[in-house]
Every structure is written in structure tokens, then in C-alpha cells.
């Protein structure tokens, strides 16, 4: 390892003295030869893992020229290989880029990181790029003889659709290489890192041998799925399109709804290893700058390794990561995102993630859906009331069963008492155990149902309905009153439009069940006090979570449990602390 380092340094020294770039190239390749001959122990695992994918069994001590020829070989092989790889371009991409853990911890100067710094002053030879892309078998080098001399194009075949490549790069190049050179983006030549990252981002790099210059063409075109309707947030009326996993698509879905230059999207790359693109969207003249500053600070501080979904980002930048409650809103509906943008919120979209993050949000907004604005205000008010009360009923109902049956039998009306006594008379467990048992069964049913393929999923319904519903009661394991209560609370927990909030309600229900088992109604209300205190102390991007209850803003009341007709809602919500509080509402 030390030898390797030292030799690099020598190269640097010699390179600075050297005059002709050609010389440097040869020297550089010499170095490569030497390093290849003395492979460091840390490098081997990486290479080994790569060689598994490679078709030819290249030995580590191969010479650079041999490598070049082999890469040319792979180019010719490519079409067949591409079909395999293009299905999962990202996965292969990651396996190639992931360094061995040892390497990461020791902070070895990997060639990709260090070499551009050494080569900042002079042009980068194509050879060095080639050597950087060793063992990436979908990295393709193609040479074209044009009027401008030899042009080599470099790209990752798995990220680029061949038809697009042909149209945008090959055809112009063959027709008029000079014009093509002018139209394509120029690259900051001295920085090898830029070239490499744009290759791995799916751009095509063109190297004009005579000019010794690099240009790049935007050709990133990974396979995408079509825009479908949202499964998690399906609505009856209103637009049906939902976000997909492609950031560009998602941005276009939002931008075609707000057609004005005020809508800004600031791109950023996060994830130390995955280099995931995110985009922070906001409307410049509405958004609160403090919020924007706050979220940018939090994003800048991120050092997380890899992001596969925006939910990971959400957990990392939330105000209180320990809380049960989601403090930012996830939505997969562009109309919802737009609605929040217009209210002065910030929306974060991420590549490979089919929902976007809205912040800040309040507790209450977890119970709203975009459909609320498409429905008549009366219907909406009714539905919102049901959802909001549903949340509290779903966490209080089965605990109430426990506390009434175990401690406060006096609160039951006489007829109800007889019914309950009758249904409980066969049950051998205390109410707490009974409730925990049946709640867990429901949880398991729900979990099993969501994991199963849709076709088999129906079986779960039958099993749940018949086995649990009828057989358990007949066997005397649970009382049928409880089945009714559990079913109601399960249904109510599904009525929440926000999936994460519905999950939260499931979790805290157990706290209430245990509290009720311990201290009856007193325990329930103590748990209730705890819940409220927790909610009151929560913030979403620094704004109180319980808005509009506390701090009250009368204007927010027009759009709370009762949604007033649209003309009443004259102000943007207090929560977003918008620059323009008043909005056009007539």
C-alpha cells in the first residue's frame, strides 16, 4: 500500500515537469502498469467482486493495453449484455460503485478520488478515463472517424437507451462533427471527477482527439414506468396521476400545474455513496425564507450513506426522530404537492422515490386529503369530522372496553351489561389479554395481507373473516362484542388518508391498551394527557405541530375540521408563515 502511494507521488512530480501531454499519458499508463502489478490487499476484494460479473477471467496483473483491448471486446459484446443489464441499471451501478467496507473505513486514497487532483493543470488523457472505468463492463468506448478527426464517445450503456444515443449523439457526430462539438456542453476539462460523475449520471462524453477536448451530451434515459394512479392515496374525483420513481417526471408533473417562473426547484445531490438527486421546490414569492434556510441547513448537514426512498430522508431531517408521529407529509399526488406549494410550503422530491415530502405540516393536515377541495364543503366537513374523531376513537375504543370491563362496570347501561356479560361468560382470559390477542391477530392479518400477492391476498380476508370472526367467538376465545369493537377501530384507522398517521395510531393504541389494563379510565386519560403533551411539544420544521389549535389562528379555522366554502379561505395557513398571507380567493 505504501509503495503504491509513493509511486503515485513520483508520478505527480514527473508529470509536472513533463511538457507534452502524450508523454504524460504514457507515463501515467506506466504507473498503472506498476500499480496493477503490485495490487494492494485492500483493492483485491473489490476487483474480485467485479470479476465475478465480468465474462472474461482477467487477472489482476494484466497490462493496461490488454485491458484496453478487453474493454473493446466488451464493447462488441455489449448489445447482448445490455439487454440483461438494462433491466436493473441502478442495481448494477451501485454494486460497481460500492467500495469494500474496509476501504471506506481506512480512507484509502482511491484512484477515482485522488487522480483528478493531481491532474488539475493539464488535459486529461482518454486513457486515464479508461483506466478509471476498468471492470465496468457496461462502460462503452466507441470511436468514430469524422472530419474533425477521431472522436471517442464514452457512456454507460445501462443508463442510456441506444435509440436516443443514436439520435442525439451518433447522427450529429457523423453528419457534422464540428457543429456537434459546438452544440454539446463543454466540460471543465481539468476536472476528471466531473467527467466521471457525468458518465455515471448517464451522460455521454465525447472526446475529440485532435482538439483534445471533452464535451458531453445529456443522454440519461433509464427505463421508466408509466404514470399510473396512486395506490396509497386513491381518490374518487380529481386528477388520478401520481408521482413515479423518476425525478424528472415528477418535476414535470408539478411544473405543468404551476406554470410560472416563481416556482423554483433547486437540485442537490445527497447520499455519500448513492449520489441521489433531490430537488427542493418552492414558490419564491410565497415561501418563508426562514423555513427554506432551515431545511437547507438540515440538508447540508446530511452525511447519510444511501437514500433509496424519500422516507429515509424524512426520518433524518425530522424535528423529533424519536416520535411516533410523522412530522412531514408524504404524498404521491402531484395535486396535493401543488396545493401545499401554493400555501407556501416546501416540497422535496427525490430520484427513485415515488412520493414527495411536504414541510412543514401540522397534525391536523394529516387528516386532510386533496379530495377535500374537490368535494362540496358540506361533504368534506362531514368526512373530516369522521376522520378526525376516527383517530381518537380508534385509539380509545378497545382500551375503553378493557377499563369498563375490568374496573368501571358501573358505567354500562343495564341492557348493554347483560349483553356483554353474556358474550364474556365463556372467555377464559382477562379483558387485557383478550384485547391484546385479537388486536395482534388483526395486525398480523393486515401485515400478511399487505405482503401477499393480490390474488392470494383475498384468502387472508376469508381466513380473517371466518376463522377469527366466527370460530374464535364460538370457541369462546374472545367475545363477539370485542370483535365488533376491534373491527370498528381497525376500519377507522384505515379511514385516515395518511398512511404514516394510520400506522402511528396503530402503535399508540397499544400504549392506551396497556394503560387501560393498568389503571382503567384513569390510565387512559393519563395516556391521553401524555399524547397531547407530546403532540404539543412536537414541531414540524420549527412550527408547532398542533396548529391551528395552538397557537390559534382564526383564519386557519376556516380550513380545519369544517372546511368552509372556498371564498372564506382568504389567508394562507399560519403554519407556513408565508410572505404573502392573503391569497386571491374570489
Amino acid at each position: 500500500m505504501k509503495i503504491w502511494k509513493r509511486k503515485k507521488r513520483i508520478v505527480v512530480g514527473s508529470k509536472e515537469k513533463s511538457v507534452s501531454p502524450e508523454q504524460t499519458t504514457s507515463k501515467e499508463s506506466d504507473v498503472e502498469k506498476e500499480t496493477a502489478k503490485n495490487p494492494s490487499p485492500e483493492q483485491t476484494p473489490l476487483k474480485k467482486s467485479n470479476s465475478e460479473d465480468a465474462t472474461s477471467d482477467k487477472s489482476n496483473s494484466e497490462e493496461a493495453i490488454a485491458k484496453k483491448s478487453s474493454s473493446e471486446q466488451t464493447t462488441s459484446k455489449k448489445p447482448s449484455q445490455k439487454q440483461i443489464t438494462s433491466k436493473e441499471p441502478s442495481s448494477e451501478h451501485t454494486t460497481l460503485k460500492l467500495p469494500s467496507p474496509k476501504q471506506a473505513t481506512l480512507k484509502l486514497p482511491s484512484p477515482t478520488r485522488k487522480s483528478p487532483m493531481r491532474l488539475t493543470l493539464k488535459n486529461i488523457p482518454l486513457e486515464s478515463i479508461k483506466s478509471e472505468l476498468t471492470d465496468i463492463d457496461d462502460a462503452i468506448f466507441k470511436e468514430f472517424q469524422t472530419k474533425q478527426g477521431l472522436v471517442t464517445i464514452v457512456y454507460f450503456s445501462s443508463l442510456i437507451e441506444s435509440l436516443l444515443l443514436h439520435k442525439t449523439v451518433v447522427t450529429p457526430l457523423v453528419n457534422d462533427a464540428e457543429k456537434a462539438f459546438e452544440t454539446f456542453d463543454n466540460i471543465e476539462q481539468r476536472n476528471m471527477q466531473v467527467i466521471l460523475s457525468s458518465i455515471s449520471n448517464g451522460d455521454t462524453i465525447l472526446y475529440y482527439h485532435e482538439k483534445q477536448k471533452f464535451v458531453k451530451a445529456k443522454t440519461y434515459s433509464p427505463p421508466q414506468r408509466a404514470i399510473t394512479s396512486s395506490e396509497n392515496e386513491s381518490t374518487v374525483i380529481g386528477p388520478q396521476d401520481a408521482f413515479t420513481e423518476s425525478l424528472a417526471t415528477n418535476l414535470s408533473l408539478i411544473k405543468r400545474r404551476i406554470q410560472q417562473p416563481g416556482l423554483k426547484n433547486k437540485d442537490q445531490t445527497i447520499g455519500k455513496e448513492t449520489n441521489t438527486k433531490i430537488s427542493v421546490l418552492y414558490i419564491d414569492h410565497i415561501v418563508n425564507n426562514e423555513n427554506l434556510k432551515l431545511i437547507n441547513e438540515r440538508l447540508d448537514k446530511l452525511t447519510y450513506e444511501g437514500f433509496f426512498d424519500i422516507t429515509i430522508l424524512k426520518q433524518l431531517i425530522e424535528d423529533n426522530p424519536y416520535s411516533v408521529f410523522p412530522q412531514f407529509l408524504l404524498t404521491s399526488k402531484p395535486d396535493a404537492a401543488v396545493q401545499f406549494l401554493l400555501d407556501g410550503r416546501i416540497v422535496i422530491a427525490m430520484e427513485n422515490s415515488q412520493s414527495v415530502l411536504v414541510l412543514p405540516v401540522s397534525f391536523f393536515e394529516m387528516f386532510t386529503s386533496t379530495e377535500d377541495f374537490y368535494n362540496r364543503w358540506t361533504t368534506t366537513s362531514l368526512l373530516r369530522t369522521i376522520r378526525f374523531l376516527g383517530f381518537f376513537i380508534t385509539i380509545m375504543l378497545t382500551p375503553l372496553y378493557i377499563s369498563v370491563l375490568s374496573y368501571h362496570s358501573g358505567v354500562l347501561p343495564f341492557e348493554l351489561l347483560i349483553i356483554i356479560q353474556e358474550s364474556r361468560s365463556k372467555v377464559p382470559f382477562p379483558p387485557v389479554i383478550e384485547v391484546l390477542f385479537i388486536e395482534l391477530v388483526i395486525e398480523v392479518l393486515r401485515e400478511a395481507g399487505s405482503r401477499m400477492p393480490t390474488k392470494i391476498g383475498q384468502t387472508i380476508g376469508i381466513v380473517g373473516g371466518i376463522v377469527i370472526g366466527t370460530a374464535a367467538v364460538e370457541a369462546g376465545l374472545v367475545s363477539n362484542i370485542l370483535i365488533v369493537l376491534v373491527a370498528i377501530s381497525a376500519l377507522l384507522s384505515f379511514s385516515l388518508p395518511n398512511f404514516l398517521m394510520s400506522n402511528a395510531s396503530r402503535v399508540i393504541r397499544y400504549i392506551f391498551i396497556l394503560a387501560a389494563g393498568l389503571f382503567g379510565l384513569l390510565g387512559q386519560f393519563i395516556a391521553f394527557a401524555w399524547l397531547f403533551n407530546h403532540l404539543l411539544n412536537l414541531t414540524s420544521l420549527g412550527s408547532p405541530y398542533m396548529t391551528p389549535v395552538i397557537p390559534r389562528a382564526w383564519s386557519d379555522m376556516y380550513n380545519s375540521i369544517i372546511r368552509f366554502p372556498l371564498s372564506f379561505i382568504k389567508k394562507r395557513s399560519r403554519l407556513s408563515r408565508s410572505k404573502q398571507v392573503k391569497k386571491a380567493s374570489k
Binding site: V411, L518, I526, W530, F532, I550
Partner: protein, 360 residues
Amino acid sequence: MDVKKKKVLNSYHVVFLVQNIMIGMGLLSLNHTLSAVGYGQWWFPLLFGVVANITLIPMIWISLQYQDDDLFDIHEKLLGKWIGKLINTLLIVYAVIIFAAVIQKYLDLIQVSVLSDRTIMGHLIIFLLLAIFIIKGGIKSLARFCILTFFVTGWMVYYLKWGIADGEITHLLPLFNFNKLEFFDAFKNGYTAMVGYELIMVYFPYIIKPYKAFKHATIGIWNTIFFYISVTFVGTMYFSEWQLEHLLFPVLKLFQAVDLSFIEQIDTFALTIWVFLMLTTVGGYLWMAKKGMDSVRNKNSQFHIYVAAVLVFIVINLPFPMFLAKLYETIFLISFGVILWPILLIAIHSVRKMKKGVVR
């Protein structure tokens, strides 16, 4: 965030803090404590409101003279470091004992009527933990909790409707059917229900608009009076004088009159929801004890909350029930002293000011 900023309480916070720290166990037994004056009790809360408002004036005045200081700092400034610290220590003891008195009364009642086969130990620990949890967020956390408590518990006034339907409006007369001794007795016992607004001297420096604090505290006090008077009014209608005198918690019997088709014994719910009101009351005193310790030890520390809670726990578990009962009774008399204390402070303040003037 909020903990670090000094001025955190806006007008609504002050209103509800004043109100909800006052309402607590006192309301449950208000009809009983006022029973010395018989049916004449129903307008007593009005009198209490006036008295509370008058005694509020010196509190606000002295606090306005030292806008950035709470009661403990004022003591040290006015009375010197050592006497100040001594009095502050006494105030800590006062807060802890009131805390203990209130919580013990409540948990005993819970044990008697709701959870009859449980010792109070379990609830006590959970209750203390929750109080600590609330106070850890600072005074603003308590203030927000107070606002929520108002909405969670305030609707129970509706259930007094049944009491009105069954009651006799004629009981409201005669108005002054008592002698001086009875009046004094009722006033002394009944005014304990008003204790709690003196805490404004402790959280005064946190109020954003100190010059409007008097107005907001007054609104808070009269909110309380509204609840008190509705209870005494309905209680007077619903009960006979004998019942007022002999029922320890008449409000619970009032709730038992409620006749709903799907649920009965509303008093069980009322008593357990009361835990919110208890938490706000107790939270105020816990915070006062914490602030006191901060000032005595010259150190801001969240650790003091735990110390105060442990002290409360110890006091409640002292093995002298007779002594404790006596202590709880006297502590409320002492609280009258605390309410009147600012008058003395004003005297000292003006004396010192005059002396300073002379020196200059």
C-alpha cells in the same frame, strides 16, 4: 427552542395558565367547602373573583417594577441575598407541599371511587412522571397544555344541565341567610379553591406583554369564576342544605344525575378526565419549585424538576398520616399569606426607594 427564549407567553397563554392552575380539586368540593353559608353560597364565587382581582393588583405591580425578575429574584434583590434565599427555600417547600396536598387528595378520591382495589402508589408514580414530562418543556409547554385542558374538560359544564332540570330555582333565595362567623368560615374554606393565581409572580418575566398581564390574568380569573359559579349555582338548586354540608364532593353527585342512554355514571369519566386539571395545577407548582431551586442554587438545571418530584413523592409517603392531614390543611392557610405577601414586598420596595432617594 422555546426553552431558551425568555419571553414566551402570549396573551392566551397567560389567560389559560391563570385559569387552569386555579381550577383543580377545589372545584370538586366547592359546594361543600362553602356549605357553611347554606344556599347563600351560589354567589360566593363572585365575591372571590373580586377579592382575587384586588389581590392581583399588588402582585402585578411589584412584578412590573422588576420586569425581568421572578418572585425569587425579587426576594434576593429586596431582602438581601441570605434572607431572600431563606424565603425562597420556604417557597420551594410551600410549592412542594401544595403539590403533595393536591395530588394526595385527588389520588385518594380516585382510590375511593374509581379504582377501589388499588393502592395509590402506581398512579402516583405515573402521575409524577407525566408532570415532569410536561414541565420539562418549560412554562410554555405547561401553558399550551393548559389551553388544551380547557377544551378537553370545559365541555363538562354541559352535564350540569341535568342538575338544573332536577333542581329548584327557589333555593337561590334568601341571599344573605348567614351570620358573620358562617361567612368567615365559608370564605376561609372556599377561598382555597382560588389559590393558584399567585404563581403569576413566578412566570411574570416570561410574559411577552407585561403591561397587559393584569388584563389577561383578570380574564383568567373570571373564567375560573364562571366555572365556579355554574357549579355553585347548580349545586344550590340540586341539593338540600344537609347534602351540601355532608357530601364531600357534590360535583360528582351532580354528574351522577346525568341520564344518557349509552353510558351511565358520568362521574367516573369526569373524575378521570379531571386528571388534566390536576396536571395543570400540579404542573404550575412543580415549575415554581423548579424555579425556586434554580434561584437558590444559582443554576438553571432540568435536574431540579426531578428533585422536586422526588420531594413530593417523599412527602406523600411520610408515615405520619395525622401530621400530613394537618399539614395539608395549614398549607392552604399559608397560601393566603403568599397571596398577600406582595403587599409587604411593595412596602419594602418603597422604603428602600425612599432611602435611596435620601442618599442621593
